[in-house]
């Protein structure tokens, strides 16, 4: 138990270091990237004097070290700063966009897992059959397809062709929660299919590793049914790499839904980051990337904790 607590503390310390690095690196990157938020905000008619005035008003002409100090101090107080363009706190802007990103990530991973686990297991069990070969080929194709392209195809077929789903957006004024979720179906399917490819391949490989092991042969010899052998004995032992890849996929979805959110016009965190980068809205870029990094680190932490749950050897 003391060992687990020690490992936990070590992990938390590591997380703090990673986040501190992210804060610094992001701060430096956004400021060394050419492009001035004041110039973007004022449009092409702006004179250099107008731009200089706005920079002063926004505090962009303060020394970099002072800006960095204010940023870090703000983070420690739970304040990620004020968006230059949205004229609202970054935390408010992020909170307003958390819902679509959260449900998009959730549905995508549910879809991916729902496809990947059964298909991956079946493909491993029927290794070398036509089914297996088809799965291997299709997962290779799905992994190579960009999610935005798949998104556009889904829009053409199911939004334009069939009219079943909206092509874009997250609903207008007064839209109910269920209607908002309805807007997420096509983007979630696009992301889910692409992510299912990787999870399927990992599931198949992990299952192939364990299916030939002695304890599986022993279980069969003892007369256990095939379903019990595969799901209880083999799958349980193959879970560690599968959990790892699912965890990585969730983390990548949080950060990687950027393009899909843009294609589907979803007002999520990814879309906010893209707009913020184009507008050079420094506080939003910094705040959003910090939150995404924190989620990424947290998911990795949860995955590590899950190892302890599923594998007694890790506990020891």
């Amino acid at each position: 138990m003391a060992r687990i607590a020690q490992a936990l503390l070590k992990r938390l310390g590591g997380m703090a270091i990673v986040l501190a690095l992210v804060v610094t690196v992001v701060f430096i990157i956004v400021r060394v990237t050419p492009g001035d938020p004041a110039a973007v905000m004022l449009g092409s008619d702006a004179t250099p004097e107008d731009i200089a005035q706005l920079r002063t008003r926004l505090g962009l002409d303060a020394p970099l070290l002072m800006q960095y100090g204010q940023f870090v101090l703000g983070i420690l107080q739970g304040d990620l700063g004020q968006s230059i363009f949205l004229n609202q706190p970054v935390t408010t802007a992020l909170a307003a966009r958390a819902e679509p990103t959260f449900f998009l990530t959730l549905f995508s991973i549910l879809i991916a897992v729902a496809i990947a686990l059964p298909v991956g297991i079946l493909s491993a069990v029927r290794r070398g059959t036509i089914f297996d070969q088809i799965v291997v080929t299709l997962t290779m194709v799905a992994a190579s397809v960009p999610s935005f392209w798949l998104g556009l195809i889904l829009i053409q077929v199911f939004a334009v062709g069939q009219g079943w789903f909206p092509a874009s957006g997250y609903g207008g004024p007064g839209t109910s929660f269920i209607e908002r979720l309805h807007h997420l179906v096509l983007p979630a399917v696009a992301l889910g299919i692409v992510n299912s490819a990787l999870i399927t391949r990992f599931t198949r490989a992990a299952m192939l590793d364990v299916l030939g092991d002695d304890y599986v042969r022993t279980a069969r010899a003892k007369g256990a049914g095939e379903a019990r052998v595969i799901l209880k004995h083999a799958l349980k032992n193959a879970l560690i790499p599968i959990i790892t890849v699912i965890g990585l996929s969730v983390a990548m979805l949080v950060a990687g839904a950027v393009v899909t959110e843009t294609v589907f016009g979803l007002p999520g965190v990814g879309n906010l980051v893209v707009s913020a980068v184009l507008r050079r809205d420094y506080p939003v870029i910094q705040g959003a990337l910090l939150v995404v990094a924190a989620i990424y680190v947290l998911i990795n932490f949860i995955v590590d904790m899950l190892y302890i749950l599923v594998d007694p050897r890790v506990r020891q």
Partner: protein, 509 residues
């Protein structure tokens, strides 16, 4: 097993909502909602601070100016009751104001609102600041007139009072606007950034009278509601229009024209001469400080080939040396002899005469506007054929706007503009605009324009300015481009304008 069942149940529930959402969409259309897909989220709704196209497009439904533009881009009354009375010396403008107009908050519009709003505009808007330097006093003359006294004659005054100089209730004026209250046909109800901007019909709206002409004339808020939805991806705007989700989709790629036309659900709309592309030259530092080399650039380029590469079909562009397009009051051929068809040999001769030493010409462009990039590619080929060594620098738009402010960084940048209501509000004419066009003959020509008080005198002075621009060559006009947008079948009364507007437009039934 439990996980799979949960997934299936979730998907089934989501699929079941499709009919619900479609039924609601139909109900909204019957209630008269216009859904407009725009190119993105406006940075702000404070048009005085940020007068960009997307802000102007949305704000014109909420706010109004004293004057607005008719089909010839001449200023005509909007909140003003008539054209101003001008003193004999051309320095004092008395502007009568319409009576009975109210703001969305119910307060009455009067002279106090005008002076307070124009003072804010002169303090924070770039054009307003230019006007502020000329204005001696701005006063109320009773409740329904204002008087503007100038230090010197200023011909573009009415044009500048026709755009971004919106009138707000004096009580709501602040450095940073928190309430967006105007006199326009629609009032702001809700803004959810990156999701929608919801405008609702202003029932007490008092419309100007007169025949509809561009932004002038009668305005009627037919649709009960207008929703501006940001859809940054152009293909998604196209598909959303065709699927019936949007009633209007702004700024479509020209390649989508046939798809929209053939869809049977929507039609493409072309707005002719929406703007013009230009290559602006650095006259302050670097290679092109030498006028002879700028003339060599003029001689080398072929505008038709550049526009064809950028817009792929002559339905979407026109090539015209006049800075203003045909149909505009300001269209003139004065000085356009230098607008050539690309003569690399003549350009090479000019290069030799100028003693060009092979220093690379830094041509800066952006892929944010794909046509800028394509123009840059063709320009590079023509300039190299003439003997220039070209360093084509492709950067994102934010980087370009920063770099162009530094005269050490570039020689030419590619940009585009709309056709403003007054020729002297063209950016390049300003001494401080990147390119830093300062010349004695320009100053004289602009002074003659500023002094003009009649339309005829202004036109003659503008011909002088255009001639000087071609001789000084601060920019190379590439050509005029048309804007393509899409309108859903069943939407009626839409008239294409530079900043698309939706008063007088009937939604689908």
């Amino acid at each position: 097993m439990k996980k799979s069942a949960f997934v299936l149940m979730t998907l089934a529930a989501l699929a079941g909502t499709s009919s619900l959402a479609l039924a609601q969409a139909g109900a909204q259309a019957n209630e008269g909602v216009l859904t407009v897909a725009t190119i993105g989220e406006p940075p702000t709704l404070d048009v005085m601070q940020t007068p960009t196209d997307i802000v102007l497009t949305i704000d014109q439904h909420i706010f109004e100016t004293l004057y607005t533009y008719d089909a010839q881009w001449k200023s005509v009354p909007l909140l003003a009751a008539g054209m101003p009375t001008l003193s004999e010396d051309g320095l004092t403008y008395k502007i009568p104001l319409r009576e009975g107009v109210t703001f969305h908050d119910g307060s009455a519009f009067d002279a106090k609102d005008v002076t307070a709003s124009l003072k804010r505009w002169m303090a924070i808007n770039s054009k307003g600041k230019q006007v502020a330097g000329i204005v001696e006093s701005l006063t109320e003359d009773g409740d329904h007139a204002v008087v503007i006294k100038l230090k010197s004659r200023y011909a573009p005054l009415l044009a500048t009072l026709s755009q971004a100089s919106v009138i707000l209730p004096s009580e709501k004026i602040a450095d940073t606007l928190t309430e967006f209250v105007g006199t326009g046909p629609y009032a702001l109800k809700e803004r959810k950034p990156d999701q929608y901007i919801q405008l609702v019909r202003f029932d007490d709206y008092k419309s100007p009278e007169g025949e509809i002409s561009n932004y002038a004339g009668k305005r009627e808020a037919i649709a009960k509601e207008i929703r501006f939805v940001p859809v940054p991806d152009a293909n998604t705007r196209v598909e959303g229009l065709i699927s019936g989700q949007f009633d209007y989709a702004d700024s479509l790629p020209v390649s989508a024209y046939e798809r929209v036309e053939g869809s049977g659900n929507a039609k493409p709309v072309i707005f002719k001469d929406a703007g013009w592309a230009s290559m602006n030259m650095n006259m302050k530092e670097g290679l092109l400080v030498k006028k002879e080399l700028r003339h060599a650039v003029q001689a080398a380029l072929n505008p038709n080939d550049m526009m064809l590469a950028a817009f792929s079909d002559d339905r979407f562009f026109s090539v015209d040396g006049s800075i203003f397009p045909e149909g505009s009051f300001w269209h003139t051929d004065a000085g356009v002899e230098r607008y050539g068809e690309g003569d690399p040999e003549a350009a090479a001769k000019l290069l030799e005469e100028a003693g060009y030493d092979g220093t690379p010409l830094r041509l800066m462009t952006s892929r944010q506007y794909e046509f800028h990039y394509k123009i840059g590619e063709v320009a590079k080929a023509y300039l190299e054929a003439a003997g220039f060594k070209v360093d084509l620098q492709v950067v994102d738009w934010a980087t370009l706007t920063t770099r162009r402010a530094d005269p050490k960084e570039w020689d030419i940048f590619i940009t585009h503009s709309n056709f403003p209501g007054d020729p002297t509000t063209i950016n390049t004419i300003t001494d401080t605009y990147p390119g830093w066009y300062v010349s004695d003959q320009k100053a004289k020509a602009v002074a003659a324009y500023m002094d003009a008080t009649t339309d005829e005198a202004k036109k003659a002075a503008w011909e002088g300015i255009q001639t000087v621009i071609y001789d000084d060559a601060p920019l190379y006009k590439v050509g005029n481009f048309n804007a393509v947008s899409g309108l859903a079948n069943g939407v009626e009364g839409y008239e294409p304008t530079y900043w698309p507007h939706f008063w007088n437009v009937s939604p689908k039934k």
